[in-house]
């Protein structure tokens, strides 16, 4: 059949050529590289359905002679390029310049080499899809906690805030699908609103390669990535179900991806997570459940020349907060600290009562890129975020269902990046950013903790990557940022004039509007920041590399550091920002020696950070109200040093048995007052022994162990307060840290049907150890989680 068809085609072809007869035309041309216009030598050209072929000469030129009138099709091939097919209508002599996409690997690289770093000189750690799956029913912070140098600041067990080298909140940039997250990250109990299940890889950048995203990555960068899909027609997806004995809940996650050979792709993902009250080793943690509903959608087009991506995600988080942590004043806090068990212990329940948090985060972006011949790649992105955070507390009467905090933060950004490669060794990125942000407190019958403000940011950067030779790479960048904050806020006039002396310090903020004991003000700030980054990679041999990073970061104070003013109900403390807080400047040095080898590998990474004007929130005294006394926490600025070392090891014991270990040691010093820094992670180490049998259903069994030592270096902010009931002074121990703990875990996983069906069984806190972690804000009230048995099924289709 096919033979006949071909024969027929050839006959037809001959027929047309015989009719045309007119065969004295020529086609001349030159083939060059799309990027730098350099000539491509030795590319082969073949006219389809003929024996005419040629090869480009030393200057990339070629010529076909004696062409007949009519249509011809030429296939051009070159070793490092994608074949290209072009048709011409021959009716005269033609001269044509043809470009080939010489660096096709670049596009494929993202698909194939998932091991690659975001920048070659960057000091970073990655979490791959399998670990993300492993933590499918936990939070981003829990998954990152497995990396050395990364810890978390928790509120209970569901609100988990990642910390890199002891730094968190505004000091960490979280980049979600190339969008910098703005989800009111300033609060200690504000966890990032990210559904990990929507991502394919998460990078933690500890070093200095962050200028593209901002100048304020004092702590580091967390990059949550999606995946690029190969250009082929396919439809695939997966569904995951998990069940946990602790909290009697789990999650459901499904994703489906359709990709086309043309370059288009689309992905839809949804997840639902639900837990009831969790259990500590000895008691139920009443009101600690959660409910999350998340969805994400991607639509894009990928080709070498151009592409775009549209991304939208919505995260709905509802977190119950331990009932016992709701306290009225400092004496309630003393009672809580002194009692060994939480005040309220009830039967298991799925209900999420007050206090609770309810957060919705919308994130939308559109990104487009185009490559210009002989010039470079231009990327443009617009993104939009809305974060609505509602915190509910125990209230009286009609206000029971009204939150005490209701804030809406809207962020709009545009950014563009131009990447040029003047030669094979040099890559330059030049970019621009514009951002507008607005915070609107919604009426709650309370004075908002964060006032109305508008914030405008602009940034410019240039980053260069230079390959000095085969084994050495250099990276250097500089960035300028401009920020303007305009706030509108009512102050208590006694506080304004007397407590803080603002009437003399900031008379320009006053508007002249006074109502009773309240004064209306318009604080305005302008900041200019310069930041730099330097990176060096030296490959010592095939698997041993040395990385050296230096970074200068500047961080503008966030609104809570400037404007917080009032009772933070969920913390039973009065928090006060100060209008004279200035920016924070950090010099970061980090070195990493990495041996990438399955038999024996390691990463040894010491670091040193000098932070001038480090902004911290510390207890400064007591304020008496009609509700009794409250500790007052004030933001202040000191100079700080943070230094430490992260070590990771892997060793193959035999064919089936591997050992992994890590140690994180850190010291934080308040050099202004010669005190330890508050809330610094304690020394900790992890061990894991893993058995893996590829042949037997990919069976993997691992035992994990984690020890966190007691933090003995903490600033002592303990104080005495009068208990009016007993009329005696009582000691308020808010600083002392809980003792050392060790927990063990067991993980068994297996895959059937060529990996289409995966099972996993985890036992967390195997021995049901009761312990408290000093970086948990609820450590005064209750223990951490007890034993949990977790079962997961994943189906790939």
């Amino acid at each position: 059949m096919i033979k006949q068809f071909c024969l027929c085609l050839i006959v037809c072809f001959m027929f047309t050529t015989t009719i045309a007869q007119n065969c004295q035309y020529s086609l001349k041309g030159k083939i060059s590289d799309f990027h730098d216009n350099s000539s491509i030598i030795g590319a082969s050209l073949q006219i389809v359905n003929s024996n005419k072929n040629t090869i480009t000469n030393f200057d990339g030129s070629f010529e076909f002679k004696n062409l007949c009138k009519g249509k011809i099709t030429i296939v051009i091939k070159h070793v490092a390029c994608e074949s290209k097919t072009i048709s011409f209508i021959i009716s005269k002599d033609i001269v044509k310049e043809i470009t080939l996409e010489h660096h096709l690997e670049e596009l494929e690289e993202v698909v194939v080499k998932s091991e690659s770093k975001s920048e070659s000189t960057s000091i970073e750690k990655s979490i791959k899809k399998d670990i993300i799956t492993n933590f499918s029913d936990k939070s981003l912070g829990d998954a990152l906690n497995t990396l050395s140098g990364v810890s978390s600041l928790n509120t209970g067990n569901t609100i988990v805030k990642p910390m890199i080298h002891g730094l968190h909140s505004s000091r960490l940039l979280i980049i979600n699908n190339n969008v910098r997250m703005f989800d009111q990250e300033w609060g200690d109990e504000h966890a990032p609103n990210i559904d990990m299940n929507a991502s394919d890889r998460i990078d933690v950048i500890k070093g200095a390669n962050s200028l593209k995203f901002g100048s304020d990555a004092v702590g580091g960068l967390i990059v949550v990535r999606g995946k690029k899909y190969a250009r082929k027609d396919s439809l695939f997806g997966s569904s995951l179900m998990s069940f946990n004995s602790n909290g009697f809940g789990g999650n459901l996650n499904s994703e489906i991806i359709k990709s086309y050979k043309s370059g288009y792709y689309t992905k839809v993902q949804m997840s639902y997570r639900r837990f009831g009250d969790f259990k500590a080793a000895d008691y139920s943690l009443t009101n600690s459940g959660l409910e999350n509903i998340n969805a994400s959608f991607r639509l894009g087009y990928n080709s070498y020349l151009k592409g775009f991506e549209f991304y939208y995600s919505q995260v709905n988080n509802k977190f119950a907060i331990l009932k016992s942590s709701h306290i009225g004043n400092v004496n309630d806090l003393v009672t809580a600290i002194n009692s060994l068990e939480p005040r309220v212990i009830k039967e298991f329940s799925f209900s999420i009562d007050n206090p609770k948090q309810s957060i919705i985060h919308h994130l939308g972006k559109i990104e487009a890129y185009k490559r210009f011949q002989g010039f470079g790649k231009l990327t443009f992105q617009y993104d939009f975020q809305v974060n609505r955070r509602r915190e509910f507390d125990l209230r009286r009467g009609d206000l029971k269902n009204t939150p005490v905090i209701d804030l809406r933060l809207v962020t709009n950004s545009i950014q563009s990046d131009l990447q040029v490669k003047p030669n094979d060794n040099l890559k330059l990125n030049i970019g621009f950013l514009g951002r507008f942000q607005q915070n609107n407190p919604i009426s709650t019958g309370y004075r908002p903790l964060i006032p109305n403000f508008d914030k405008f940011d602009m940034g410019l950067y240039t980053i260069g990557n230079y390959s000095l030779n085969e084994s050495t790479e250099l990276n250097a960048g500089i960035r300028y940022d401009f920020s303007k904050i305009k706030a509108r806020k009512w102050y208590n006039i006694t506080d304004w004039n007397e407590t803080y002396n603002y009437d003399e310090l900031f008379p320009e903020f006053e508007t002249g509007t006074i109502a009773g004991v309240r004064i209306f003000t318009k604080p305005q700030y302008t900041f200019h920041n310069f930041s730099t980054g330097l990176g060096l990679l030296k490959k010592i041999n095939d698997d041993l590399s040395l990385f050296i990073n230096y970074g200068l970061a500047n961080r503008v104070p966030n609104p809570s550091e400037l404007f917080s003013d009032g009772l933070h109900h969920s913390a039973a403390r009065i928090e006060k920002g100060l209008l004279n807080i200035n920016k924070e400047t950090a010099n970061k040095f980090i070195v990493s020696m990495e041996r990438n080898n399955n038999n024996f590998g390691f990463v040894i990474s010491p670091y040193f950070k000098k932070i001038n004007g480090f902004i911290q929130l510390i207890p400064v005294g007591i304020s008496t109200t009609i509700r009794g006394a409250f500790p007052v926490y004030e933001y202040n600025q000191i100079d700080a040093e943070i230094y430490g070392i992260d070590i990771d090891l892997n060793k193959k014991i035999n064919n089936r048995l591997d050992y992994y270990g890590s140690i994180s040691l850190l010291r934080g010093k308040n050099t202004s007052e010669n005190l330890p820094l508050i809330n610094m992670p304690a020394a900790n180490f992890n061990n894991k022994l893993m058995y893996f049998n590829e042949e037997f259903k990919q069976l993997s069994i691992s035992i994990t162990h984690k020890t966190v030592l007691q933090q003995n270096r903490f600033p002592d902010y303990n104080f005495f307060t009068l208990d009016p009931v007993t009329q005696q002074d009582v000691f308020v121990d808010i600083s002392s840290t809980p003792p050392t703990y060790s927990i063990f875990g067991l993980n068994i996983s297996s895959a059937f049907n060529e990996g289409k069906l995966q099972f996993e069984l985890n036992v967390e806190n195997l021995f049901n150890t009761s312990y408290r972690e000093h970086l948990n804000r609820l450590r005064y009230f209750a223990d951490e989680l007890g034993r949990n048995i977790n079962f997961k099924i994943k189906i790939n289709y």
Partner: protein, 189 residues
């Protein structure tokens, strides 16, 4: 071409968001009313024509100026008083009576009274005389008996929200969160 259009459209949207939002810049935003604020606690103790009031007022809430006390007259030794407590938000006009809210939710609230007197072998007994729907004490109404004179002493009033009821009569056992905690200095002649 289509991408260009989209970019243009987005640029327009972006710029217009600046314009729209910057309009309201010069407006004075409303200072939200603090609705649940308790500014004033008045404990009125009556023995016939002998009326003693213990009052604490903090009109600007937490921060700002300190609260003020207004304590009338000494108590009379050997006398019984009936006490009644009133909570108000005086930043509203007329002042909001919060005692009514507590009466409505009396199962979720309880007052606790403690005292210390600087005298030997003297005591002050404060009894709660009202009960909630479950038959547990509330403490809006009280009776007191001062047995001997004291030159110095104090009465502390604590209001707990969501205490465990019944309890052993102490605020520590009741738990819950504290809505009011005020100590008054008193003398008994």
């Amino acid at each position: 071409m289509k991408t260009m259009k989209t970019i243009k459209l987005l640029a327009v949207l972006f710029i217009s968001s600046f314009v729209i939002t910057s309009c309201g810049d010069d407006d004075v935003i409303e200072d939200p009313n603090v609705e649940e604020l308790i500014t004033t606690i008045t404990y009125t103790l009556t023995n016939g024509s002998d009326v003693v009031t213990l009052k604490y007022t903090d009109l600007d809430g937490e921060g700002g100026s300190d609260g003020t006390y207004a304590i009338s007259g000494p108590f009379t030794a050997g006398a019984s008083y009936t006490g009644s407590i009133k909570l108000e938000n005086e930043t509203e006009s007329p002042a909001e009576n919060i005692t009514e809210e507590i009466e409505e939710e009396d199962e979720e609230h309880e007052f606790f009274y403690t005292s210390s007197l600087d005298c030997t072998f003297c005591s002050l007994v404060i009894d709660k005389t009202d009960i909630d729907g479950n038959g547990n004490p509330v403490g809006l109404e009280t009776s007191l008996f001062f047995d001997t004179p004291a030159t110095d002493g104090s009465i502390t009033v604590v209001l707990k929200h969501e205490p465990s009821k019944p309890n052993d009569g102490t605020s520590a056992d009741a738990g819950g969160s504290t809505d009011v905690e005020v100590s008054f200095n008193i003398t008994v002649l």
